[in-house]
């Protein structure tokens, strides 16, 4: 279908090489039609599975749960309209649980992303220097990334068991998976283990496109390794690092699997906004669940916006960042052809 629609493309292709102006414009409108045809199925699917549910969530969040109507005394089958009640409840009845989940989410996101960034950059620097055993390092760094979070939750619950290896190695008798600050520590350690290598990978890719001559020039001028790192490596690797940190932050804000499996559902110390919303939905309180989901969505959206606006993370990575691409092309081309 795509193919036939565009069948008179031969003269068109020729036109783009020796362009008389009028024909070229026609070629552009043809490519716009083709583009619409190619892009619309994806947009349609995303509209159905993302945009439509979001609008429904907004609507649902204005309705309460069916039950006894306090005014009439009858049992209702349908969800009653409650207006902004689900939202005002986060300052009233549901305040404790909501704000606890909100601060847990924020705290876990901040600490895990900060630790992951430091460890990830350190890993990238080591991998960048290593020439022997590169394949081994690359393979092993992908293992934590590939392990399902559910499995990693189980694995760390076993490690943090009261008679487990963590207590044996440290000589402590901490009940890691019970309520308390240590439960947060357990979640942070498990999350950092799984995701620091991912940041390491992205930063390594950024390191590999830095021109070696810059370092030589710096060394000639007598810059110490520390200064080189601070004034050359870090600024040049910043675009790749920004994207990695943005992705990790948004991912950490929706954290669910790890605390759910490692510590458990409805645990005050580690309940995140995702867990709160899921718990409400699983207990058929769709109204409050939708309200929490909407709040989490807005929170994620604001943080993403702040990243793009204030820190200039270029996620789309299109042609505007031109000069570096040239250096990537030749290597990749051989890889694709091979």
């Amino acid at each position: 279908m795509v193919m036939t629609q565009n069948s008179p493309a031969r003269p068109r292709a020729a036109a783009s090489f020796a362009p008389p102006r009028r024909r070229r414009r026609r070629a552009t409108s043809g490519s716009a039609r083709l583009a619409a045809l190619l892009v619309s199925p994806t947009l349609l699917v995303l509209t159905v599975v993302v945009l439509y549910p979001t609008i429904v969530a907004l609507k649902d969040s204005l309705f309460g749960t069916p039950g006894l109507d306090p005014k009439t005394g009858f049992v209702r089958d349908t969800d009653p309209f409650v207006g902004a009640e689900n939202y005002t409840a986060i300052f009233g009845d549901a305040a404790d649980r909501f704000w606890n989940a909100f601060w847990n989410t924020t705290f876990l996101t901040f600490t895990t992303v900060a630790l992951e960034t430091v460890i990830g950059v350190a890993m990238a620097l080591i991998m960048h220097r290593a020439f022997q055993g590169r394949a081994l390092v690359r393979a092993s760094i992908l293992v934590p990334w590939a392990i399902p979070t559910a499995v990693s939750g189980l694995l760390w619950r076993w490690i943090f068991n009261s008679d487990g290896i963590a207590n044996t190695l440290t000589g402590q008798h901490v009940l890691w998976t019970t309520e308390g600050f240590h439960a947060q520590v357990a979640v942070i350690i498990a999350d950092v283990w799984k995701t620091a290598p991912f940041i390491g990978l992205l930063v390594l890719a950024g390191l590999q496109v830095i021109n070696k001559e810059v370092y030589e020039a710096a060394r000639m001028d007598g810059a110490s390794p520390l200064r080189q790192f601070w004034h050359i490596t870090l600024p040049l690797v910043k675009p790749a690092l920004m994207v990695a940190v943005l992705f990790r932050t948004l991912d950490a804000l929706r954290m669910f699997d790890l605390p759910y499996i490692l510590i458990g559902a409805q645990k005050t110390s580690v309940e995140t906004l995702s867990m709160l919303a899921q718990d409400e939905a699983a207990n058929v309180r769709f109204g409050p669940a939708a309200a929490y989901a909407v709040i989490l969505f807005l929170y994620v959206f604001l943080i993403a916006l702040a990243f793009v606006r204030l820190l200039g993370a270029n996620v789309v990575g299109d042609d505007e960042s031109g000069p570096k691409r040239g250096r990537w092309l030749p290597r990749r081309r051989t890889e694709v052809a091979a």
Binding site: A57, A146, W158, L201, S274, F286, V336
Partner: protein, 277 residues
């Protein structure tokens, strides 16, 4: 800050060893624990005193329903990956090669959806699927999974298509191919490694999905493997079958680890394609 070359070399080896140990030690612990007998599961020695496969036999026992969960995972992740790849290949080609208005906006929107909190769409979809009677069906897990696999695939493939020289299609079109033929006969075969890599990355993302699969099922025979292992429980409430859990964890992870080992170069290239521009 001047170190002798020899010391530097040893420091580098130590660093590499530390990175490898960091990544593999917990995985190794899962493997070792899964090979212990139930009687010495709390034995914290680095090697199992006697290797036993009793945990694996227990997990793969038909009554445990874990094999069914593995099959469910293959079906859900497989179909999700296939659908996402088909749609994403066309879209990514348009993103990388065609000029049209609002292109940047469309690409930004598609990528933005992948960062969307899954729970925000899961809550309304759960309510809808309850009304539609879709609970405990494969489509109830596949449809929401498209929300994160499709943007991931589009993003990866766009980066791959952009790296391919435009001259390839131009040459084909000068030789008389239409754009469609150039796409089908020149671009697709040459992009096969990129499409394959994207398939692996998308499959791993779909395979690891937990929140949707947990919420959309309540019958054990429809659960996917990650949900099934999270619900493993022992004979009594106070006995957690750590050995079986570790064995199941190894079984769920091994296919992914093998894929990662075989295609590590390509996966790394795919994961970093968009970021390192």
């Amino acid at each position: 800050m001047t170190l002798s070359p020899r010391l530097r070399k040893w420091l580098l080896y130590a660093g590499v060893a530390a990175v490898v140990a960091y990544c593999l030690a917990p995985f190794y612990w899962m493997l070792v624990s899964s090979l212990r007998r139930t009687s010495d599961i709390f034995d914290n020695s680095l090697f199992p005193t006697r290797i036993s496969f009793e945990n694996y036999l227990a997990v793969l026992d038909p009554s445990a329903a874990f094999t069914r969960a593995l099959l469910n995972s293959v079906v859900v992740a497989g179909i999700t990956t296939l659908l996402a790849l088909i749609l994403a290949t066309f879209t990514a080609y348009a993103m990388a090669r065609l000029e049209f208005r609002l292109k940047r906006l469309v690409l930004t929107l598609i990528i933005a959806t992948s960062m969307f909190p899954v729970v925000s769409i899961m809550v309304p979809l759960l309510k809808m699927f309850v009304d539609m009677g879709w609970i405990n069906t494969y489509q109830a897990m596949i449809v929401p999974s498209m929300s994160f696999t499709l943007p991931l695939a589009v993003w990866n493939l766009t980066a791959f298509f952009r790296q391919m020289p435009r001259e390839l299609e131009h040459a084909a079109m000068v030789d008389g191919c239409t754009r469609g033929q150039a796409f089908r006969k020149v671009i697709i075969p040459l992009a096969a490694p990129g499409i394959f890599t994207t398939a692996i990355i998308t499959f791993i993302a779909a395979w690891n999905e937990f929140l949707i699969a947990l919420s959309m099922t309540n019958k054990p025979e429809m659960q996917t493997a990650p949900v099934a292992i999270s619900k493993f429980s022992g004979a009594t409430q106070f006995e957690t079958p750590f050995g079986s859990q570790m064995a199941a964890g190894v079984l769920v992870t091994i296919p992914l680890v093998i894929m990662v080992l075989l295609f590590q170069r390509r996966i790394v290239a795919g994961l970093t394609a968009g970021a390192a521009k």
